[in-house]
């Protein structure tokens, strides 16, 4: 029982990172852009939150937790949205290939993040390990409800970002299906020519969706840095792996953000399962860690076998749009 609870807890924390990444990418893909830069964007979000708070905590005697959290979130959103903006400018205005641009963004984002993450101390003239204790504590603060036995552990033992992710998923679902703006956005991804003829500004919708989507994806990076690894930095490529899982999760959810809520936790359970299976050697644990990727492959195959009309990607996903094309 105890180990099941801790597996669930680990899965929720893990799942939240990729849920942010996934919802951001769903919004982007609904506008018809496949952004393979999610890992890079999450890197940007992570490093921006860490760097800004690191400077703030280092320069203030008594840093306020509220300011820390706000600063971390705002800078993470801004940096990721900026990454999204570069991608949007290249793919929409300059009509570059989406996949290649996305991959470049991933290289760039991981370069920037790991460079600054690894050099933060040197650049700031300090020599200890990067740490932002105040912010990290604020991110990891749980509510009183976590004291309730079992239920409290299962549902209330997390920092606020876990609930923020769920709220964003629900809001995204509502926006896509129950507002006119959401309908317009989906039109851009399904048939940009139709959107254009209906007077919808295709490029503005795409830009907004990509930048906001990138900002949300970036929260995943911030949450990873502040909560998952407790306000430190590691140049081990974990964010990149998580970012690709977020991209895979988009397929798993069939482009519906409400499915991301349980899908993300399921991925988390699969990822941590190896810790709870007795008798594994260190090397065979590594084999077990394949599970989320293998499951994604299986889901991918199953969805391609079924040709259901409402489980398809947006019809114009990945295609550039140029109004005056003949």
């Amino acid at each position: 029982m105890q180990s099941l609870i801790s597996l669930f807890q680990a899965a929720v924390v893990f799942g939240t990172v990729i849920m942010f990444g996934c919802i951001g990418e769903i919004i982007t893909e609904k506008a018809g852009n496949l952004n393979l830069g999610v890992p890079g964007i999450m890197y940007l979000g992570g490093i921006a939150s860490l760097a800004s708070v690191f400077i703030y905590e280092g320069s203030t005697k008594d840093p306020s937790p509220v300011v820390c959290v706000l600063l971390a979130l705002v800078s993470s959103f801004a940096a990721s949205a900026l990454g999204g903006l570069v991608y949007a400018f290249l793919t929409i205005t300059l009509k570059a290939n989406q996949n290649v641009t996305g991959l470049t963004l991933t290289i760039f984002g991981s370069g920037v993040a790991n460079f600054f993450g690894g050099s933060l101390n040197t650049l700031a003239g300090r020599f200890e390990q990067v740490a932002v204790p105040v912010t990290s504590a604020a991110f990891r603060k749980t509510s009183m409800l976590s004291g309730i036995p079992v239920i409290g552990k299962l549902f209330f033992s997390y920092g606020f970002m876990v609930y923020l992710a769920i709220i964003i998923a629900v809001l995204t679902h509502f926006f896509m299906n129950h507002t006119r703006r959401g309908l317009n956005l989906r039109t851009v991804g399904e048939n940009p020519a139709a959107a254009d003829a209906a007077g919808i500004n295709v490029n503005r919708n795409k830009y907004l969706a990509i930048c906001i989507g990138a900002g949300i994806s970036g929260f995943g990076g911030a949450y990873y840095v502040m909560d998952y690894i407790k306000g430190t930095w590691a140049n081990d490529g974990s964010i990149e792996n998580l970012g690709w899982l977020a991209v895979a999760l988009v397929i798993f959810t069939t482009w519906k953000s409400k499915n991301a809520i349980w899908g993300a936790y399921l991925f988390g359970i699969l990822f941590w399962m190896f810790l709870y299976i007795p008798g594994l050697t260190r090397s065979s644990q590594e084999l077990f860690k394949m599970l989320p990727y293998a499951v994604t492959v299986i889901v991918l195959i199953i969805t391609s076998l079924k040709n259901s009309r409402d489980k398809q990607p947006p019809a114009a996903l990945g295609l550039p749009y140029f109004r005056e094309e003949r």
Partner: protein
């Protein structure tokens, strides 16, 4: 009635498609963009390190080509990247998004490392060809799975190959833990450092001669294969339209699977080269993101062998150069990824100015 355009409300700038820009002009546009990108990077590094932009490039050049050892390291890196790009070229020309080079390289690497560990007693003229063949087969097998599903069920190959990367990475972790040497280090260490079994031998006194030769052979092969063979013709038709290929009587599934086998095999050989010809060890970073960078190399080069070699050279130069700067300033060498990212953004942007033209709002007095 005057024919002047009313200018107040007309859009300031409009985009107009253009086709058939002459080759020389295309080259000039691209070179200009690379130069602008280099200038931008120069100033960026200047902001971080306080080296002035000119000495930045002096140091970078020093780091990449400063002495024979560094030059060869840069060349080795270039050949590695180019070989992967060459492997990816046929798949991408077929519009098969093989994001899985990373995994295919690792599988080739694992197999090579395995051969080196278990068959170290074999003579080199048996061992090396065996490693070559087995790692090619391994890479091909890794590419085969997504290819079959794409051909049969139209399963999205971008994500399938991407996931296969991580399966390969975990497999590598498994073998690293399994072959760990010394115990507890969580690395495999240099394999066969005593007898150098399975290492590329020195030819003409050059350690990396075989790396260069292997890559150039494949570059020439791929150039001819894509341009002048029936297979190459099939690949371009499938890449343009699967319907046309079927109409022409081509067996699209077979072409897809065959091409991916070739693509995976070359990536597997790249893994062999990474282990036998460079690091002499295996780890999860043996591919080190080159599988992704090579996609961009292949794409930007429009699958032309010579251009792929050139872009690889540029990236290898930036890599070694940025690493040199980073080490001089005690910063970490991820700076090179940042700079490569910026340069690639600029090259991607340059395509726009080749395929489109900007029309600015005409001046009021200009009229028509």
């Amino acid at each position: 009635m005057s024919t002047e355009i009313k200018t107040e409300k007309a859009p300031f700038v409009r985009v107009v498609k253009q086709e058939g820009m002459p080759f020389s002009k295309r080259v000039v546009v691209r070179i200009c963009f690379v130069l602008i990108a280099l200038v931008v990077c120069g100033f960026l590094i200047n902001a971080i390190t306080s080296y002035d932009p000119v000495s930045v490039y002096t140091i970078m050049f020093e780091g990449a080509f400063g002495n024979a050892r560094r030059t060869w390291a840069t060349v080795r890196e270039m050949m590695m990247l180019a070989l992967i790009a060459i492997g990816l070229a046929p798949a991408f020309k077929m519009k098969f998004w093989n994001i899985g080079a990373e995994g295919q390289i690792l599988i080739g690497g694992i197999i090579s490392a395995g051969c080196m560990i278990y068959l170290s007693a074999c003579p080199a003229h048996v061992l090396l060809p065996l490693m070559f063949v087995l790692s090619a087969a391994g890479g091909a097998a890794w590419a085969l799975l997504p290819a079959i599903f794409k051909a049969r069920f139209n399963t999205n190959e971008t994500l399938f190959t991407l996931m296969m990367n991580y399966v390969a990475i975990q497999l590598t972790s498994f073998f690293v833990a399994h072959w760990e040497n010394p115990k507890g280090s969580n690395t495999v260490g240099i394999i066969n450092s005593a007898n150098q079994a399975g290492w590329f031998p020195e030819v003409f006194g050059q350690k990396y001669f075989i790396n260069v030769a292997l890559t150039l052979v494949f570059a020439i092969f791929m150039f001819i294969y894509l341009r002048y063979t029936k297979h190459g013709f099939e690949i371009s038709v499938v890449g343009n339209s699967e319907n046309t290929a079927r109409y022409a009587g081509m067996n699209v599934s077979r072409i897809m699977i065959r091409t991916m086998l070739l693509s995976g095999a070359i990536c597997g050989i790249a893994g062999f080269m990474a282990v036998s010809g460079a690091s002499h060890t295996i780890s999860t970073s043996t591919a080190g993101g080159r599988g992704f960078t090579a996609i961009i190399v292949a794409w930007l080069a429009k699958f032309d062998s010579a251009t792929m070699l050139l872009i690889s050279l540029l990236i290898a130069f930036l890599n070694s150069g940025a690493t040199e700067i980073a080490s001089k300033c005690k910063l970490n060498d991820y700076a090179s990824d940042m700079i490569i990212g910026i340069i690639l953004f600029f090259i991607l942007a340059s395509e726009f100015f080749i395929n489109y033209r900007l029309v600015f709002r005409k001046k009021e007095k200009g009229g028509v």
